[in-house]
């Protein structure tokens, strides 16, 4: 299969390209014009474009059988993220609609779910966030990106799969939001026994390629998380130990953190009404979306695709921190 990968120069994109090549696919990797192309094998065709501004994206789809759409912004303010994630996707899919390509794997995120309404286990049945504008720029952009993908798919009768990975981590990207917050030398963990929805970058890439290849993935939405039951304290401890980060790890029960956020929100409402603004850590719904203690199921992807993570947590740790002195 010839596969076009958008966002190929990104953290996950590089692994997806490697995984596709490993499994014998031809790859056209879309990389931003000023970015350095990763060290891919020669057969990887690099297509230079920035989805926000590139005038003619149509040639990117020439001769392509399927698309894995990864392009999205993970940094920047709300408007920059919207432009890089949503408007870029809109332009990308407009070009795709003019091509003959019908197969699309879209990479979304667990942030699109309403974490406040999630019961004990988050799975594909968890309701989608219905008040996106109360959340951060990344959440707004990922929700809108999914909306756009679904609309285009419906309008053009595309065969799509939506993948929603958890926290993607790996070499060079070991820090994740759910770890807590650093205040000087103090590392505050909110809910040290909370399970983390981890998806190691190699496992995640492998899963996306499996979804692309499998006919049973067609029209489906999957959450992508690894199978190991990893808790916050365990992850943070390994991180601190392996990166030799000095500082004190301070566990704080989740409900204490949430209580503080609720108290701050209550005070803000009383003083300033609905217009009051608080940092995300003191905004209850945003706090929940980062730290709520839930179980994260990958049973759908295991059942439908027969997929299993290639590497265990311990193997991923070894691979991710291979450059660190342990």
């Amino acid at each position: 299969m010839k596969v076009l990968v958008s966002g190929a120069g990104g953290f996950l994109g590089q692994s997806v390209v490697n995984s596709l090549v490993e499994r014998g696919h031809q790859v056209r990797a879309m990389v931003r014009p000023a970015a350095r192309a990763p060290d891919w094998p020669e057969q990887v065709e690099v297509f230079r474009a920035d989805l926000r501004v590139h005038k003619d994206l149509a040639p990117a789809f020439d001769g392509v059988d399927a698309v894995i759409h990864l392009a999205a912004a993970v940094t920047g303010n709300e408007d920059a993220q919207f432009a890089s994630t949503v408007v870029a996707t809109e332009r990308f899919l407009e070009a795709m609609a003019k091509s003959t390509v019908k197969r699309l794997v879209h990479v979304s995120s667990l942030v699109v779910y309403d974490w406040s309404r999630a019961k004990s286990c988050m799975d594909e049945e968890t309701p989608i966030e219905c008040a996106p504008y109360t959340m951060g720029g990344y959440t707004i952009a990922k929700i809108w990106q999914e909306r756009i993908v679904e609309r285009f798919a419906q309008r053009n009768s595309w065969d799509i799969t939506i993948a929603r990975p958890g926290f993607i981590w790996g070499d060079g990207h070991e820090e994740i939001a759910a770890m807590g917050r650093k205040f000087g030398r103090l590392y505050l963990m909110f809910g040290p026994f909370t399970r983390l929805p981890l998806s190691h970058v190699t496992n995640c890439a492998d899963c996306l390629v499996s979804a692309l290849e499998s006919p049973t993935a067609s029209g489906q939405t999957f959450n992508i998380v690894d199978s190991d039951d990893v808790r916050v304290w365990q992850y943070v401890r390994e991180y601190a130990r392996r990166t030799r980060q000095p500082g004190l790890l301070v566990p704080l029960p989740y409900h204490v953190g949430l209580g503080l956020a609720q108290l701050a929100a209550f005070t803000s409402r009383k003083l300033f009404g609905e217009k009051g603004k608080l940092p995300s850590l003191l905004t209850p719904r945003r706090f929940e979306s980062q730290f709520k203690p839930l179980r994260f199921s990958n049973s759908k992807i295991r059942t439908k695709l027969g997929w299993r993570p290639r590497f265990s947590f311990d193997e991923c740790l070894a691979a991710s921190y291979k450059h660190q002195v342990t």
Binding site: D50, N77, A83, V86, Y133, W144, S268, L271, K277
Partner: protein, 351 residues
Amino acid sequence: MKKLSGVLIGCGAIAREHLTALAELDNVEVSGVCDISSARAEAMAERFQVPKFYTNHRDLLDELKPDLVHITTPPASHLPIAMDCLERGLNVFCEKPMTVQYADFCLLKDKAIAKGTMLMENQQNRFHSSVRRILQLIETGELGDVLDVQICLSLNITGPNSAYTDMNAPHFGMTLPGGVIGDFLPHIAYLAYMFTGKALAVNAVWTKHTKCTPLPADEFRGLIKGERTTAFVSFSGNAQPDGFLIRVIGTRMRVEANLYEPPKVVSKRLRKGEPALMTVVDGIAEARQVLTGSIGGFVRKLAGQSSYDGMKDMLAATYRSIELKQPQPISLQELDEIAQLADQLSATAKP
């Protein structure tokens, strides 16, 4: 009473500030928004409960016939969009810079005069609480005669991940005379103009401190001789922390404010008495102003007030003049002289 209707063309970051301010005006309702990105227009409409969104601004103008059109697109598109509005006899409130070239401003001005419509540029800092406080000190005579004005804008446009130096999607400011700094010159120009009056002579120096960026220059220093006084103006793309400082020097008082930190205004006045004692009195007075201003600023942030101090008041004044059929808050003559000043400043960037 029937509300005035406003529409926005362009749904980027600045549009959100307009809509936030408009939501606080009781006599205005936003009837539509427009953007070439359907998703961006729809998202903005959904967020601010605007009933209609469009991807073609002419469709919006023809269908909604609003009382005021806010143009919040990148500067290169202002001229054709504003012309479309004026041709239809619609009032225009345009983001700065209204046009890329001064000659284009003249085209719009002539059209607005011919059609009898309003043509305004967003100069929200004229309505900034700190600027109004300074003006009040001048009007009451407390500051004395204004001898000099200093306007110094520092913004980290050269740092990592800066949108201004993005090599993949060049910032729209790169199309302006003077590059990205040209995008900030209108703010500097109208603030200086408020004190200097019409510019009689302009001198400026442009340099590049950070070499590895596509910016033609990232530092700017200018000197303006105006009808009433002089102004030193500057922009730094490297100085940190970010700040938008305005200092007015009078014969009786010095007053300064950081427009990024309202409502903090610090003044130092001429006092009679033992100099050593007066230094202490000055210090205490200054400390009190800093403390009250800093706490006020913190509370403003918690209260969710817009960081664009002055935007709401400027929009309120604009809509009020439409409602009462009064002259626009900033006359076309003034806008013209400010556009000329900005043009003179940016012209110094040419090799």
